[in-house]
Amino acid sequence: MTAWQAWGLWAAEWIALLVIFTGLLQTFFYVVQLGFAGVALGRRPPIARASLLWRRYADEAPAIAVLAPAFNEEVTIVESVNSLLALHYPDFEVIVINDGSKDRTLETVIGHFGLSRVERFHDVAVKHNPIRGLYASPRLPRLLVVDKENGGKSDALNAGINVARAPLFCSIDADSLLEPDALLRAVRPFVEEPLKTVAVGGTIRIANGSRIEAGQVLDIRMPRNFLALVQIVEYLRAFLMARLALSAMQALTVISGAFGLFQRHAAMEVGGYSHGTVGEDMDLVMKLHGLFRERRQPYRIDFIPDPVCWTEVPESLVILGRQRARWQRGALEVFSRHKKMLFNPRYGRIGFLGMGHVLIVDVLGPIVEVLGYFLVPLLWSLGLLAADYLLAFLAITFTFGIFVSTATLILEEAELRRFPKKRDLAILTAVAVVENFGYRQLANFWRLRGWWQFLRKQQGWGTMTRKGFARP
């Protein structure tokens, strides 16, 4: 064997070991998360009926401002606002922020609800583009519309934070459908741990395929589109396993922009949502961690497994790929902004567990896995790697993936049983297996595209075409 050959063998083995080790580390994280999620589900309070929640919390629940940013939502704005005004919560206001829409969103909402221009004394501590006007009506004291110059979702939310007068605010996406008792469920940590709780996230479920009327999901059905089905399994992994577990470890790094409840004052102390990142929801959570860790002040950022919000997911490869690349870019931007927290003892478990998780899963994960797809089979076919390396690589990319997805489904079925039909469960089990062959690899390529966009400092959200919720 020549020196070059020996070096080649040595290099091939080390590359394969790096790929396998990173994959194993990810799998280890997932297994630990499954354990924590299982314990957290076992310990959670029973899911109470809305009437009981009302009775329990009505007197003590703090006021909430629901912030609904709207950009070119002319067609759906009235239904969305009606749905928000129908929420069951003792003390809340709905603040619709028209983020410089180019269509007739503002005129539609003003005309339909009979609003007129008002003056309101509001905060100016958080930066955002100028507010052009505020609109309200004495007939609808819960509704306030903010008209501002366009600045993006985070800018619109910042305007909403300034205008809000409640101690808590709930940020939602324009296309989020909230369960009527979503606020009552999500406020629980703020009632039970009022001195410590600064933010709470809730479970987002996929509404594609379900029957929706007047802004409410009336009949939960499985989507027929394969990509939407795969995303159901992905969302289960993300919410039921990862977020629930990270919350139990008090190392939650993200609260979805589709639904999150925040202590207004704490959010203002960190300057509200950041501009210049597509990961503004994750960034806000990381800033809150940073603030309280640096002050050495006890705090909690929690996740509740109760279903509180429904969303529509992309059903086409192009749009899904764009969304995933954007998510990846957002995670990298936030990681880069908060890198000083990584493995920094000052930030405790958020530095080690939270940021460590982001490093392994989001930063290194896609690069190393895609590298493995190319190199491990190639090196094995060239005779530079023993078959055992190939098998170990297959284990971390396929079979452990099947285990993690199936185990999440087991958790769902054993603890929550939210899929009413057994046929749905059988379909999801099949999807949990099939997604590892083709979809997982594609998702990693999309994430690599996100990496590339991050390196090129690409900005903006790209076009997100929505199919729209099924209407009767």
Partner: protein
């Protein structure tokens, strides 16, 4: 076999086991589906019996105990008056309280919590005794639920003992403790008042007790709360709760404490003091409130403006003055408060 090959076989093994478990759960779902249908049938049979539309039917306990317990508790919580009494009687006859008491021994905190909440509907001695035992449960949610259930039937131990058992103000800071104290105060107000006087009671527990009593219109409490507010450390987080309570009483005896609160280094205390000043109508603090319109914290500016707007013509005059002469941000605060309140 090398470690790498073992990894492959291990992954195959655990994936296979997971799929087998899932398959088992699917089978169980099929069985549960049948049971679920049977439950629906049972539900349809039970409801009219409980509602009395088929008075000659016969209720059964036993096998469908969980369903009966859940259904009956739900029905009891939905109705009032004689219907409720009828359901409570039916539930007792069917052994629902026994089942709930049994569930208080469950290993699952979720089951214990549900049982502790549901037992509030039954005030029999045995249930009360079990709820008393649940005040020492290892899970704090179960302990608090047991206390709330006991309070709803006026069977809690003395409030002071409850503070220690639940760790109110130290381990337990839930806002639900205010409701707990309110329930106790409705029948035994002196116990809650005694908490305020007791030096050994933690500040947060005292604040909850004060909030619970703030709707009582017992003005004898005002000097007591005011003295607590005056003697508290200016950094004490409970101070803002004391001031809010003084505002709720709307009694001028709180003036000194409110005045001190307006100068606190904590913004939440200053905001609570401004709010209390407005609710009490302390026009004597008008100058300080006008100065508070320029506070660095918006909440304080907002509450100060709100307070002045509540104070009639004198407050409006101070707002006008600030809108015309005060430096920013006081000027904007005054101008917008006036615009919002329709003060010209």
């Amino acid at each position: 076999m090398s470690g790498l090959a073992a990894l492959w076989f291990l992954s195959l093994g655990i994936a296979a086991v997971a799929l087998l478990i899932m398959f088992g759960l699917l089978l169980a779902r099929m069985v549960l589906g049948w049971t679920g249908r049977a439950r629906d049938v049972e539900k349809k049979r039970i409801v009219p019996l409980l509602l009395g539309s088929r008075p000659h039917g016969k209720l059964r306990g036993g096998g469908r105990g969980d369903l009966l317990a859940t259904l009956l508790v739900e029905l009891i919580q939905l109705v009032r008056g004689s219907d409720r009494d009828r359901f409570v009687e039916a539930a007792t006859r069917l052994g629902v309280p026994e089942r709930l008491r049994h569930n208080l021994n469950s290993g699952s905190p979720r089951v214990r919590l549900a049982a502790a909440e549901a037992l509030a509907e039954f005030a029999d001695e045995e249930s009360v005794e079990r709820l008393h035992a649940a005040l020492r449960d290892r899970n704090s949610d179960v302990r608090l639920s047991a206390a709330l259930s006991l309070a709803s039937v006026d069977r809690t131990p003395p409030a002071r003992e409850l503070v220690d058992l639940l760790g109110i103000g130290t381990r337990e800071n839930s806002l639900l403790t205010v409701g707990l104290f309110r329930d106790i105060a409705a029948r035994r107000p002196n116990e809650i008042k005694a908490l305020i006087l007791d030096d050994s009671v933690p500040a947060n527990a005292k604040a909850s007790a004060i909030e619970a009593l703030s709707a009582s219109a017992d003005y004898a409490l005002v000097p007591l709360i005011a003295s607590l507010a005056l003697s508290s450390d200016s950094e004490d987080p409970a101070l803002s709760r004391y001031l809010r309570a003084l505002g709720a009483f709307a009694h001028p005896a709180g003036e000194k404490a409110v005045k001190r609160g307006l100068g606190s280094p904590r913004w939440d205390v200053r905001a609570a003091a401004a709010e209390a000043a407005g609710k009490i109508g302390l026009i004597g603090l008008g100058t300080q409130l006008r100065e508070a319109l320029a506070d660095r914290e918006w909440w304080v500016r907002f509450r100060a403006g709100e307070a002045l707007a509540r104070m009639g013509t004198d407050g409006a005059a101070l707002l006008r003055q600030a809108a015309a002469q005060a430096p920013e941000p006081g000027r904007t605060a005054a101008r917008l408060t006036m615009a919002e309140r329709g003060i010209v």
